[in-house]
Symmetry: C2
């Protein structure tokens, strides 16, 4: 089954549009995990186990692992999710972007080494920088479109002949690059009007939406702007607000409660 098919299945069978972002920062871990060699794996696997029935996907952010020489723990984490929670796709948030021969190497990293089901990719280098990922027909490729940070406007909001650059990216991906049906887009929750615009441009293309929770995006506005006619189409990511909901040994329970509340808040507006 492809990433997109698995995602559609997860939306319907799990009744959730929630993506839990796995951005492990050991400085924020509960005291009993600190100093353990496998703390990053243990922390993330416990969060995954406590929330898997509440989510449509998981999204580990590779920078948090790479900064701490924890690639092996990332491999183990994704393998753990595949084994324990089949049907929940894993997006490697890596925002890669390079010429074709190098992109082939990044595709090996994401899909063969880490066994992710999808990867986030930066569109700045154009279509041929995306094709090596599309050569894996079961995998998903999620292109940055409108990002949730303030500086996102520096380039993405430039006018390119009557539309904004992020609108052009949405149009290019939906109409030209997505010939194989493997693509999705990243659109930040901090800009609901722009989520609506991207939804208008792209039809039912899946949208990964970071920025609720710690970054301040509004759930109601996000869902109303981005849902498809079927009431799906969104992977709404929350990372810090779920991972660090609790500070003690019961952090996984606290994460589950936070995930449950977020899933239900999302479902209220579908």
């Amino acid at each position: 089954m492809t990433f997109i098919e698995t995602l559609h299945n997860a939306w319907s069978t799990r009744n959730s549009l929630l993506c839990v972002g796995l951005d492990p920062d050991p400085a924020k871990f509960p005291a009993h995990l600190r100093g353990r060699d496998d703390a990053i794996f243990e922390f993330c696997a416990a969060i995954a186990d406590a929330t898997a029935d509440l989510v449509c996907c998981f999204k580990p952010q590779i920078a948090y692992f790479a900064a701490r020489r924890a690639e092996e723990q990332l491999e183990a984490l994704i393998a753990h999710i595949h084994e324990k929670h089949p049907g929940v796709p894993v997006i490697l948030d890596a925002k890669r972007g390079d010429i074709g021969s190098t992109a082939e190497q990044y595709a090996v990293e994401a899909f063969e080494r880490f066994r992710a089901d999808a990867i986030t990719v930066n569109p700045y280098m154009g279509r041929d920088s995306v094709e090596p990922y599309l050569a894996y027909p079961d995998k998903g490729v999620i292109l940055l479109c409108r990002t949730s940070n303030p500086g996102g406007s520096d380039l993405q909001f430039l006018d390119v002949g009557g539309e904004k650059l992020y609108e052009r990216v949405a149009r290019l991906v939906a109409r030209d690059w997505n010939t194989t049906g493997q693509c999705a887009l990243v659109v930040g929750a901090t800009f609901p009007a722009e989520i609506a615009r991207v939804r208008e441009i792209t039809g039912d293309l899946p949208l990964l939406v970071p920025g609720i929770g710690a970054q301040g995006g509004d759930i109601e506005a996000t869902v109303r702007a981005g849902r498809t006619a079927a009431g799906t189409g969104l992977m709404i990511n929350s990372s810090r607000a779920i991972l660090y909901a609790g500070k003690g040994e019961d952090y996984a329970d606290a994460a589950r409660q936070a995930a449950l509340a977020t899933r239900d808040a999302i479902n209220r507006y579908r």
Copy 2:
């Protein structure tokens, strides 16, 4: 000494604008290295030792290491270059780009874990996605501007109010983002007229120029378009044409000959 100062020193003391790109592909290694656990380190370190007096910098491409679980060999390689060839800066070609809190993690990866002197960064997410790298005052940040691949034109060549997007990026970086003097730009050798345009916009900003050699860029046109009044300002990268100049046990000697010829070809037009 900062990256930019080290680079200026290397240009003058080594009389070279050549950057050797370290993109190790084990399938192309000489037979005697294949199957060795440290083949990637050995191959790259031998190339570095054979060419260090001919270059102004080295540029390992992290994807080639990450695809093969060879991060430790990349750490060892950069440590080797620092120890054996002081004064030759190392650029980690990673093309990272993410929101501030994640960019902080990528900066730790590049500058603390791998001890690179500079990193390549994608500008699509805007200024705040670049600032965490600039928080390391000795390090360099090299922003993608005009890339050497065919698809580079898909976004970079869009008209944004009377200029192309890559020109806007050049202007933003040179005039707004580079307040600390740590920035440089990537401009592909496959587009000499655009190197000239970026040089015109950015004054003496250092330009990293991939695309000669295997990608077909012309050395004379590149140097004439991109040199500063001082006859420097360029890091002209060659990877495959140098790394794989020889196929036998004398591959490092062959690489040296190729690097020497390329350096001299560049110097002919400075």
